[in-house]
Assembly symmetry: C2
Homo-oligomer: 328 residues x 2
DNA sequence: TTGAAAGCGCTAACAA
DNA sequence: TTGTTAGCGCTTTCAA
């Protein structure tokens, strides 16, 4: 048995479809009695508006796509949550696409985006070349870049700078007497990785200390391996340049070689809603805030597409730090 | 400037819209020349079929909703991934909704489901009463329960039993000489939690040992707290009844009190694609397999809704276990 | 091998 | 305050 349409409701209530529509959407004044008749009919027929018809008619879907590099990362989960909250207030629904830090998959989803009709796109890209990215972005689609920005790309975006936080952290470690301060760098190319590495290098140069850098990749074993190498190279302090790597390295090291704790001071990353941090010091990223801002921005863009491009830069803050795991 | 419609293409190519449609969907034979003319027109106008119109016409959206209790949990992430892969093969798109283990939020999404037109629903419910759940489920919507099943509910579902795995694990711990074997139970009511707890209790009864049970909640601090209490109560072995709690407890304990490692043997949970496990022994859940099966099942249901209800029960297997964190 | 045209269910402009 | 109706863009039946 097919489900009831707006026609059925109109007929049963003895009114026109226009009236039914207006009752449902509260889009013009309808007398009390009429409203009641319509509502009764709706209940009786268990009528639900057909979203596809409505979408076709209005040209909107109420859906926004978020292309995420790693849905399992606590950092992105926290952005997702903030986005969901922000968007649902305006009855928009967030749809997720997970790229696993792969540009191939990201391209795939961007293609999908052309087929599927989303009202907006939020993108934490894995691409590093502005030209390559723009070539794949659908035209006429309200878009906000989040977390990662590309040099030379004039687009709406929200990201967090932690140049200062990394720089200051390195200086502090040196002040504590550390000479051999190691660094575990994130996936090459990603804008945030680059900025942080630069901060480390600048600080070490300023301190006239020799840098110890290990470059990780996106495998979970990569970070512990980097960590081990830095220890072997004699580092007494290590800066780890993102949250996932911090967790991966420390969970592994602290459980395998608990004595390491006392031999090395670690400055890691965490987001502002983290369950715990194993690092001695943490650089805290306002991921929730970023999600809220991205959400608000995309809603703005949807309602007035001609708005000027806006770039929002947030600053990471530093946690004074207490040794050891801490549940927040 | 509005984007081109199928009419524009038809006009430019000098054919009917029917022909254009058939060229696009390869749904009837079209001569080579005509095909080429149409394709040229499509390219020239940069035409893309309007998904909303297509959806309205065909009555399908190609979207499936997955209501997840905790999107940040590695266990569910792994199911999600398997689902995505399975569904995308048939051009279905997975949409996620995160309930944070809250029935209120779940209800909210189930309501949304009525408005939004998804082709199917995959649900890992937080509800424990079959009646309450069924009252909120939209009728006529192909639905598959995943991970958690409700007693007395005749619905399509895939879940993992680990009764045997828990039971045997407890017996093995006893065989190793442990007398005081503690247990950290998961959120009350959830079917998997109940089954596992039962297995523990049955095993302890069989062994004629006194049970030591601590019941956790969904807060991240809960599991470490339970763990501490069990240690204080003198337990030398602890079984932790899900993956998140295993990680939460062990990350905290092992980093705060490394010496604990040698005092207690831990049997925890992990999924089959885990990055690491800190536990000495692990009960492995075939989460990927579960995702694949749920995906296949929902596709079946969509194509032939009258199929008989099917319940798939998978078995957790046990990892022989090696002490300490292990990256897989 | 191709085309004409109905109609999916809804919204909103226009009319009353 | 309410109704009539065009038409969103597509698929698909029926006819040629």
């Amino acid at each position: 048995m097919k489900s009831a349409s707006i026609n059925d409701v109109a007929r049963l209530a003895g009114v026109s479809t226009a009236t039914v529509s207006h009752v449902i959407n509260k889009t013009r004044i309808v007398s009390k009695e009429t409203t009641e008749k319509v509502e009764a009919a709706i209940r009786q027929l268990n009528y639900r508006p057909n979203t596809m018809a409505r979408n076709l008619r209005t040209g909107r879907t109420g859906e926004i796509l978020f292309i995420v590099p790693d849905i399992g990362s606590v950092f992105f989960t926290s952005i997702i949550e903030a986005l969901e909250n922000t968007l649902s207030e305006q009855d928009y629904q967030l749809v997720l696409a997970n790229t696993h830090e792969s540009w191939e998959r990201e391209k795939e989803y961007l293609r999908l985006l052309n087929r599927s009709n989303f009202d907006g796109l939020i993108l934490a890209t894995t691409q590093t070349e502005a030209d390559v990215l723009t070539a794949c972005l659908p035209a006429d689609m309200p878009t906000v870049l989040v977390d990662r920005k590309l040099a030379g790309l004039n687009m709406n975006c929200v990201w967090v700078t932690s140049y200062r936080a990394v720089y200051d952290s390195v200086l502090d470690l040196a002040k504590q007497g550390h000479q051999k301060i190691g660094y575990i760098a994130g996936v090459a190319g990603v804008s945030t990785s680059q900025e942080r590495l630069q901060a480390y290098q600048d600080a070490m140069a300023k301190l006239q200390l020799e840098p110890y850098i290990e470059r990780g990749n996106s495998l979970p074993s990569s970070s512990p391996a980097c960590f081990s190498r830095l220890i072997k190279r004699g580092c007494t302090a290590i800066v780890i340049s993102n949250e996932t790597m911090t967790d991966d390295a420390l969970i592994y090291m602290y459980s395998q070689q608990p004595e390491i704790r006392r031999q090395v001071t670690v400055c890691g990353y965490r987001h502002d809603n983290a369950r715990y941090s194993l690092a001695d010091y943490a650089i805290i990223q306002p991921s929730g805030r970023m999600g809220v801002i991205a959400g608000e921005r995309i809603l703005e863009l949807i309602s007035s597409p001609e708005t000027e491009t806006k770039e929002v830069r947030l600053k990471a803050r530093r946690d004074k730090g207490r040794a050891g795991a801490r549940h927040y």
